[in-house]
Point group: C2
Chain length 150, copies 2
């Protein structure tokens, strides 16, 4: 049970981008789903936004500390309090807007993943495990976040 | 590259609940993180909400169709347009509220996972891969969703 084996359901197709460029939320990316999973997308474009769960396949190291932990101006926080790809399982999570959907391809905006990234899952936004749509607009974040997020 | 191996970082500890009970968002659950990953949680309680990504270990079947696809009153949509655990990779995603944090344990509200579920990752809410916190309060969902979500 402790070892979990997954297979990608497709991959990301986009320009080759730098670390900084990929944070530009206005850039588009294509989610190319394997033909054998294409039927799983039916009706997805009735949602404006979906979560994309992906495997950060280029990441080779892990750390329990935030990447900024060497910076004396930043607090000492753990990797799970960040979005850093050095998490023990290199799983990424993006919330993207759907721009287009054709057969086995979704064109999206806001994906924080490189060209060639294996996709693990797609889920509609927002969450609704409870009895109603779960939109969280009242929340608290740490003060240090304003140092890394404009 | 196509086969991806992950290990759990901990597991869910809570009462044994039925399918229906687990949808009650007011119930609490404990995320028991393995001691070797506990340092990764440092500072997590400065966030009010986190995403929990987990492995739905009890699920043995997969389907590309929504679980309600046999219901003539429901539309023919694919599994990626639903939150159904029959997705090809049985990955689950919950957005939970943090109630308490001690050492390697987080007490949370709103987790859509059973007792014993392996946890794969924890990420702070909201997303911020772009240049600002990404809170999506304007979105579109299909009409059929109102038939399954109160």
């Amino acid at each position: 049970m402790d070892k979990i084996e997954l297979s990608s359901i497709g991959y990301v197709k986009r320009e080759e981008l730098s670390n900084e460029e990929i944070k530009n939320h206005n850039l588009m990316a294509e989610l190319v789903i394997k033909p054998e999973y294409a039927d799983g997308l039916k009706g997805i474009d009735e949602f404006s936004h979906v979560y994309v769960i992906f495997w950060m396949h280029q990441m080779t190291k892990s750390s329990l500390n935030a990447p900024f932990s060497d910076n004396p101006d930043m607090p000492d926080v753990g990797v799970f309090a960040t979005r850093a790809p050095v998490n023990p399982n290199h799983i990424g999570l993006s919330l993207v807007e759907i721009l287009d959907y054709k057969q086995n391809r979704l064109t999206v905006k806001g994906l924080d993943a490189y060209n060639g990234t294996p996709i693990l899952d797609i889920k509609p936004y927002p969450n609704w495990p409870g009895s109603k749509l779960q939109v969280v607009s009242k929340f608290r974040v740490p003060d240090w976040l304003s140092k890394i997020v404009e």
